[in-house]
Point group: C2
Chain length 343, copies 2
DNA sequence: CTGAAAGCGCTAACAG
DNA sequence: CTGTTAGCGCTTTCAG
């Protein structure tokens, strides 16, 4: 019985073949084998020698040992991906693209929720950090390897491939305005009130401050989970006078909670109240009505960060050049676009 | 200004301190440093020597180089996690637990959608494969390192930490039966009709074949995406006589599509038709009505696979001992439990 | 064009 | 109790 993989593996001993094995088999030195098999052939090689080596290599099923190579070259061809939110659907959007982007360039991906260690242990050549580039350095310490932050940034910053939540919120609000909504509620739920307000709040306020507009914000934590919290906050708001016609939610969970509260109260979406969410997760797509949601370019940012990091590493520079990718709005049923003349 | 991380890093040179640096600084041999810092102190050390070494180590901010250690010990302390479905919410359930489980044991996680290479390059000590243990070996070839499959298996198999989709489907159907449903539809959508039917279909058929019961199956691909397909299939079924009172869907996407079609047709869930999904993803939790869904223990399987793999690696055995974890049903509103006397 | 030899940073006998 | 000495498997001068 043959195995179905291509790799011939005549020698079935446990230990995989090494350069020395191939060299012995081909009757040449280990240096020559290394040149033929791994260097870019900057050095000329006799065709006959090369043939013998390749044959021997195939026969033994030789595969270079990445660890040994890494030790010799001081390059692991591995990047770390750090996040606190391993199970967040927003994060899930980027994992695949990052891994693929790296693989295409001959790199591998190590994911970790504990970046300290990883970085100092020489296991990776660089790191993609899903973390705030402002507070990150204090948290991760001086990192000896190139890093790329992937995060929302109000202004493009040097090591960061970013999107802009201020823009994102404004995009949503302007869209609602263009649909005729003048009284828009911001559903923000719970966030630390000390310190500067989050970007989304800033963007919301700026865009909702248009002439003739009246905005309000729903804050606080009525329930531990975002969905329930959104539900409770909107329910509470519905108990009062409904002098608002649209809701902008800080994320899809809150928006879904709002949708639930509205339906329960018999308020039609989008006819009576329009709703826009944030992050454009799968939840938005399958909500009923389908949720219009602000789409962050997190996947594209991740892939771009990966590319930039590889470039930086291979060019020997210790910093990546940042870039801000633009936000988009995924329009579905919950905002009522397509039902009015506007936009 | 001080950095906020604990690691003192007095020497700000680019290259991190090595064992040799510490040895020189402490005036001892490199072997002694290695003993003090890394071995389990099986060998007794003079307290004074140890103190000097630890001081020197701290002063230089020494961190052992994982690559060099891996080369010397032939152990990378890294496991690979392979999956084809990097962005699947079902997969997302396991990523966090696996990473954490490994981290607690001093291992790291490399995710990859291309396992070949990874395995042969000596980068990892073992691999968790989200793949069918029956077809996997042919696909991945003879793998030289311990692997743990994580998958649904009809019968417990040696290298597999599994759950059982046959049981899962039966669990859902029996639950519906216990609620009084005798005519249950299986919403399976598209699956290859050559070869043996999928476990869920088998489980459905077995459980739905109870005396007095009448089951039917909705198959086919009316739309490319599962959600739309579920929607279309149910819509089509609704156009005919509705002689069924419950739907068991092969996954949450299909179930959500069903929910949409039912609502659109004015059929009340769960009053007129009960619906049960599969995988218990976030989508189920936030559906309206909240979707009762079969919960696979994929996260627990992943974590257990990680543990077993570490055990196998550290005990030198090349195979893990498999185990089957049991299925559960997460009961929410869509099945109508709690509204009837039954169960 | 090819081989010998010196590491990469660390571990693990083996002496002393 | 501590130091010396081989490697782990590969890359990379430097000779020839």
């Amino acid at each position: 019985m043959r195995t179905l993989t291509a790799k011939p593996c005549v020698t079935d001993r446990a230990r995989p073949a090494t350069l020395a094995d191939v060299a012995r088999e081909a009757g040449v030195s280990i240096a020559t084998v290394s040149r033929v098999l791994n260097s870019k052939l900057a050095v000329p090689i006799t065709p006959e020698t090369e043939r013998r080596i390749r044959e021997a290599s195939d026969r033994l099923g030789y595969r270079p040992n990445a660890i040994a190579r890494a030790l010799a070259t001081q390059r692991t061809h591995t990047l770390a991906l750090f996040t606190d939110e391993m199970t967040d659907p927003h994060f899930a959007q980027m994992l695949g693209p990052v891994e693929q982007s790296l693989r295409e360039r001959g790199y591998r991906l190590a994911v970790c929720s504990d970046i300290e260690g990883m970085l100092a242990e020489g296991r990776v050549d660089g790191a993609i950090l899903l973390a705030d580039p402002v507070t990150g350095p204090a948290r991760f310490g001086a990192i000896g390897i190139p890093v790329a932050y992937v995060w929302s940034a109000s202004s493009a910053c040097r090591h960061c491939v970013s999107w802009n939540d201020t823009d994102g919120a404004a995009l949503a609000v302007r869209h609602l305005s263009s649909l005729g909504h003048a009284r828009i509620a911001g559903l923000f739920g719970d966030y630390p009130l000390d310190g500067a307000p989050p970007d989304k709040v800033v963007g919301f306020r700026a865009a909702a401050a248009a002439p003739g507009a009246a905005s309000r914000e729903w804050l606080g934590s009525l329930a531990p989970h975002q969905f329930e919290n959104g539900y409770m906050l909107v329910r509470q708001a519905l108990a009062e006078k409904r002098d608002w016609t649209a809701i902008f939610a800080r994320n899809d969970y809150l928006a879904l909670g709002a949708l639930r509260a509205l339906r329960e109260a018999g308020v039609a979406v989008p006819e009576q109240v329009a709703v826009v969410g944030y992050n454009d997760t799968e939840l938005a797509r399958f909500a009923d009505p389908p949720l219009t949601s602000v789409r962050t370019p997190i996947a594209e940012c991740g892939a771009l960060a990966a590319v930039r990091l590889v470039e930086a590493i291979e060019s020997g520079s210790s910093q990546i050049v940042g870039e801000e990718l633009s936000m988009r709005l995924t329009i579905r049923g919950s905002c009522g676009a397509g039902r009015t003349a506007a936009e």
